[in-house]
């Protein structure tokens, strides 16, 4: 399989000036998927404004500096952009070779979380606190690892031309590879991330062309697993309560149902054009908890109204649409699986996050890609964008 290597990035003469090279007709820059990139940047920009609105008055968490979260979010976005460029530069294929290292590192990371080094926030032991106000969430990085790992295993023999579709053994290998980190994340317990990881696996299996039996088998197993978890009381009380509150938010408006209720009031009160940025009384009054992270969409709903909140959904739609196109147009199954997994990931996470603020999904702690505050999640979504761009840059030029 040497054909794949013919799409090397370094196909340009060394005599060209840097900037000319950058914008040459068949340059990397020209081949980037700009609609996706601009949408992602727009989402990050909107996110920064919303985060600023939600945190500028919250002296108890912003240490008296109204710009604390804004600056950090801009920094995170900058780091995310750098990571994206790095990913494109390295290329998704190069990263395929690094999967064993990445895998080892992320499993080690999430294991560390379970040790005394980890910190519990909102009932989940999910963070490793670094010094200086920084902390990372290793489970976020697991998403990338699993995407690359699944894609690597599932596509290896197909891309080698041995098989039209991954066989059972390959699928089993891939599932085995994913099972270890999923189990660890389940122990944290971080149900939201587990759901995302399962969705990623489903997406990967679907896109890889694995037998329908696996797809439906996995779905069935998921259902059985949910029932078992419910029956065996594996979930913590707060998780069960979240589901109960989802089913009936008026159950206990000041307790369990508080988040959902207040979130819905905030969004509903926005109307068509919203109260205007920084003018939402629900936001200013801090009625919605976690508003700069998981519930950031409520700020958009209240202050920017249907127009602004709808724009966020549209921008996410653009990113997903472009990603789907990339999945369809790449020549290797590896790229297809990676792109499709990212689509599954983004789509599920966005739907779950926005859905819970709108009261159509139960509350789980998942950030809204690009928009929510949070370093780790910001980094990995930009890495994912980097992967998608890399796949696009290296796909065959379809004239």
């Amino acid at each position: 399989m040497t054909g794949a290597n013919s799409f090397s990035v370094s196909g340009y003469g060394p005599d060209r000036a840097g900037w000319t090279r950058l914008f040459a007709r068949d340059s990397v820059t020209r081949r980037l998927d700009w609609p996706m990139l601009l949408s992602a940047l727009a989402l990050s920009g909107i996110g920064s404004a919303l985060i600023f609105s939600a945190t500028r008055n919250r002296t108890e968490i912003n240490q008296g500096d109204p710009y604390y979260f804004l600056i950090r979010n801009l920094m995170n976005t900058g780091i995310g952009l750098a990571l994206m460029i790095g990913t494109v530069w390295l290329g998704h294929r190069a990263l395929r070779n690094a999967v064993p290292v990445l895998y080892g590192a992320s499993v080690l990371g999430i294991l560390l979380v379970l040790t005394p080094l980890g910190a519990t926030i909102n009932g989940s032991r999910n963070w490793i606190v670094l010094g200086g106000g920084f902390s990372i969430q290793p489970s976020e990085f697991v998403k990338i690892t699993i995407i690359l790992g699944m894609a690597m295993i599932l596509s290896a023999r197909v891309d080698a031309g041995d098989k039209p579709h991954p066989d059972h053994r390959t699928v089993l290998q891939a599932l085995g590879l994913s099972a270890v980190p999923i189990l660890i994340v389940l122990l944290m317990p971080d149900l939201g991330t587990v759901l995302v990881l399962v969705t990623i696996i489903l997406g990967a299996l679907l896109a890889s062309g694995a037998s329908n039996r696996w797809v439906f088998g996995l779905l069935g197993a998921g259902v059985v697993g949910c029932v078992a978890i419910w029956q065996l009381h594996i979930l913590d009380e707060y998780q069960i309560n979240r589901f109960a509150a989802f089913a009936n938010p008026s159950l206990d408006p000041s307790g369990v149902g508080y988040n959902t209720n207040q979130a819905r009031i905030a969004i509903g009160s926005g109307g068509l054009t919203g109260a205007g940025l920084f003018h939402g009384s629900q936001t200013t009054g801090q009625f919605v908890p976690e508003q700069q992270t998981d519930f950031v969409f409520t700020v958009a709903g209240e202050e920017l109204g249907f127009v602004g909140a709808g724009l966020i959904i549209v921008l996410l739609g653009v990113i997903l649409w472009r990603a789907c196109r990339i999945a369809r147009e790449t020549s290797e199954l590896y790229g297809t699986v990676v792109a499709a997994s990212i689509v599954a990931w983004f789509a599920f996470q966005a739907f779950e996050n926005i859905g819970m603020t709108l009261g159509i999904m139960p509350v789980t702690g998942l950030p809204l890609p690009f928009v929510s505050y949070g370093g780790s999640s910001m980094f990995v979504v930009w890495v994912a964008v980097g992967l998608l761009q890399s796949i696009r840059v290296q796909r065959p030029m379809s004239a």
Partner: protein
């Protein structure tokens, strides 16, 4: 490898990618649809919820306006007291519903723990006072008499007293200037109830949870003006209740002050004299019942004759209105309203009604003149009047021969009026008049004099009294005939015989009814305020005024003064000539008639007084005394239940009230400096630039001052003691000393008697 397409995808993969894309799109579509539903379709609803979410009201109670007397002396105002209150919601959160805390609190306050717990319980149908009838979410005052030390104890150990607060608050004070009491006129306050809040929600003056509401008297009548408007500041708050902005602010508007026509000094004199007269009556022996007079209740009204403004209104027995302040105790409440109480909350000047006795004769005189009898004609004043088998006796069988109506008023001759009323009854067709035939001059006159209906004065719950005319008799018979016919026996006891007769013809105007009615006996009921209006009207030439106590409502800043103008209610149905003759006759009552023995030595030439005595019978009780009087400025009415004759029981007291008003000394001289109110107070008290109202100093006890002066003058060789019987006219038939014997007619045909 050829079967692998260039793109690296099999058809299966391709289909699945399309499936993924469709799935993703439908998820996003779902979000968009839901967003539209929440923000556009249901947006208005959520906007409402959002605004309710983050707005908190802070209520600043308005200071209640003062009630002032005619010169600006406060009768009711506010003072700052330390109020200890308990929050029910906080108490109920505790394990034992707060019992331990309340017991500890009772210890600090030196109260009975039982009493404290009673104050905190909520009122309902089964719970007697004391209980809380305000909102259960509002702090319940336990005492407003906490000392600074007690308040400190509670505040410093706040953790020991969860749900208990000690705060300074403005509370009502009934100042009792110059020892005047004025309790029933002022009324009292109690916390607003939930129903009242609901009812007044959409009116111009809605209640707030913390409001106190006037429950009787002026406090109730002028509640809307006195209450003012509580300040409400709406704050936007965050989820923890911290204020993040001010949404709307309505400053508190203090209540307006009410200037009344009451003069605290005259009020005190009236109260003092009423009390003294009642005590004196209790020393008098009643020959008929063989015991001393009970003198269980009484009332005095002093009214401006030319305006209807009430200068003093006293009712006995009375109570201290300050017992209501800060919640009433069980003991106090029972003493005011219990079965064994003498019902001191009743304002007997407007809520006490009894047969008017001979004071009614002015009505009968007017009726007779209206019916065509000459005022100066000759009417036989025989010692008795016989109809059929019945004998209606004149008082003590007196016989004055043929006399005029004026003289009949002077000497209060009953038989003259018996004859006139009987004549008219016969003219009207006797017991079975034809339809439309009866002219009923005597009953018509009573209605024209304003009897049988409220005078409309500005106090709540005034009673109407009663004119026992044909319509009333019919109604009353229909309501009671079943009981009468059941218990009535032809040859039974007195009561049974009456019931028997009533059963047969109680709906008809019987001859005896008409005869009794003519001298204010029988079923006629009047209130002291009604009499004050009638005698005031005779004084001023025939204009009946709607009595008023409120004189002006002055806004707290003094800028808005709403005067309450005297209101004419009607004219007496008498000509000026009749009025003048009646006036003369009533002056004769004071100089040579039934009241003369009490007004001897009065400077009648300078201050002409007019009077009519009355002694009304009440079945099963001692007689009610009435004394209706007027000068050119005032009408003064006094009545005491179970106290004997009008002049005997009240003569001295009424004279003393006039003496105080006009500054008349015991020797008959007039000292203008000592006169409390020689002419009615016309102007309003001076309102200062800052809205406060200047009030003159008032002596410790004006009534005692007056008494002291009288004594002093007497000791310095004053000529006559007021009690001495030195009637100007020898013709007056006055007993030598003390309370005259009760006037008592032999009555065969009694009927329903009502108590005073």
């Amino acid at each position: 490898m050829t079967n692998i397409p260039e793109t690296g995808r099999t058809p299966r993969v391709q289909t699945r990618l399309v499936v993924i894309q469709i799935l993703v799109l439908s998820l996003l579509g779902t979000l968009g649809g839901r967003l539209w539903y929440l923000q556009i379709r249901e947006g208005a609803q959520y906007q409402k919820e959002a605004s309710g979410n983050h707005v908190q009201q802070v209520v600043q109670p308005a200071v209640r306006g003062s009630i002032l007397d005619a010169r600006g002396v406060p009768l009711a105002d506010n003072e700052t007291r330390l109020v200890v209150s308990a929050s029910r919601t906080d108490l109920l959160k505790q394990k034992d519903d707060g019992k331990a805390v309340l017991t500890k609190l009772a210890g600090v306050l030196g109260m009975d723990p039982q009493e404290v717990m009673q104050k905190v319980r909520l009122c309902d149908a089964k719970t007697p006072q004391p209980c809380w009838n305000g909102s259960p979410y509002q702090p319940i005052p336990i005492t407003d008499e906490a000392t600074a030390k007690q308040a400190l104890q509670i505040r410093e150990r706040a953790e020991d007293f969860p749900g208990i607060t000690a705060e300074p608050e403005a509370v009502r004070r009934y100042a009792a200037p110059g020892k005047s009491n004025t309790a029933q006129v002022l009324g009292y306050l109690s916390p607003v109830t939930d129903e009242e809040i609901q009812k007044a929600k959409d009116t111009s003056s809605p209640y707030l949870r913390s409001d106190m509401v006037g429950r009787s008297g002026l406090e109730r009548q002028y509640d809307a003006q006195l209450r003012g408007k509580a300040g409400v500041t709406r704050y936007e708050v965050d989820n923890l209740g911290r204020v993040i902005g001010k949404a709307k602010s309505d400053a508190a508007e203090p209540g307006s002050n009410l200037v009344t026509s009451i003069d605290a000094r005259v009020q005190r004199v009236a109260e003092y004299e009423l009390d003294k007269a009642m005590k004196a009556a209790r020393q008098q022996y009643d020959k008929i019942t063989g015991t001393n007079y009970k003198a269980d209740s009484g009332a005095v009204v002093v009214m401006e004759a030319k305006t209807g403004r009430v200068v003093a209104m006293a009712s006995a027995p009375t109570y201290d209105p300050n017992v209501w302040v800060g919640g009433i105790s069980a003991k106090d409440y029972a003493a005011l309203t219990g079965k064994n109480s003498d019902y001191p909350l009743l304002n007997r000047a407007i809520q006490g009604q009894s047969a008017p006795g001979s004071t009614f004769k002015v009505v009968s005189t007017a009726a007779a003149v209206e019916a065509g009898y000459d005022f100066n004609g000759n009417y036989p004043c025989t010692s008795s009047y016989s109809v059929g088998g019945q004998v209606f006796k004149n008082f003590e069988g007196e016989n004055f021969g043929p006399i005029s109506l004026g003289r009949a008023l002077e000497v209060s001759c009953d038989t003259v009026f018996y004859g006139l009323a009987d004549n008219e009854w016969k003219k009207d067709g006797g017991i079975n008049p034809k339809k439309g035939q009866p002219k009923d001059y005597f009953f018509k006159a009573a209605h024209q004099f304003g009897l049988g209906q409220e005078t409309g004065l500005d106090l709540p719950n005034e009673v109407t009294g009663r004119v026992p005319d044909r319509a009333w008799k019919q109604r009353y018979w229909e309501a009671n005939k079943d009981a009468w016919c059941r218990t009535g026996k032809k040859n039974g006891s007195y009561v049974e015989k009456i019931a028997y007769e009533n059963c047969l013809e109680g709906n008809k105007m019987r001859e005896g009814d008409a005869i009794n009615y003519s001298i204010g006996q029988g079923d006629t009921l009047v209130t002291p305020i009604q009499e004050a209006v009638i005698y005031g009207a005779i004084s001023n030439g025939g204009t009946m005024y709607t009595p008023t106590i409120g004189k002006a409502v002055v806004s707290a800043d003094g800028k808005q003064v709403t005067e309450i103008k005297p209101k004419v209610r009607g004219k007496l149905p008498i000509t000026k000539a009749t009025r003048d003759m009646m006036d003369q006759a009533l002056a004769g009552v004071a100089t040579r008639g039934t009241a003369a023995w009490k007004f001897a030595g009065w400077p009648q030439d300078k201050i002409p007084l007019h009077a009519k005595t009355g002694t009304a019978e009440v079945y099963g009780k001692q007689t009610t005394s009435w004394l209706a009087t007027y000068s050119k400025d005032y009408s003064v009415i006094m009545t005491i239940s179970q106290a004997g004759t009008g002049s005997g029981a009240s003569g001295e007291a009424v004279r003393n009230i006039y003496s105080a008003l006009y500054g008349v000394q015991a020797n008959g001289s007039i000292d203008n400096k000592r006169a409390l109110l020689p002419t009615p107070q016309k102007s309003l008290p001076k309102i200062q630039a800052d809205g406060t109202i200047a009030a003159p100093k008032i002596s410790g006890d004006p009534a005692k001052d007056q008494e002291a002066i009288a004594k002093q003058v007497a000791e310095q060789g004053g000529t006559t003691a007021p009690d001495d019987d030195q009637g100007t006219a020898a013709t007056t038939n006055t007993p030598p000393t003390g309370n005259r014997d009760t006037r008592r007619r032999q009555r065969r045909r009694g009927s329903r008697r009502t108590t005073a």
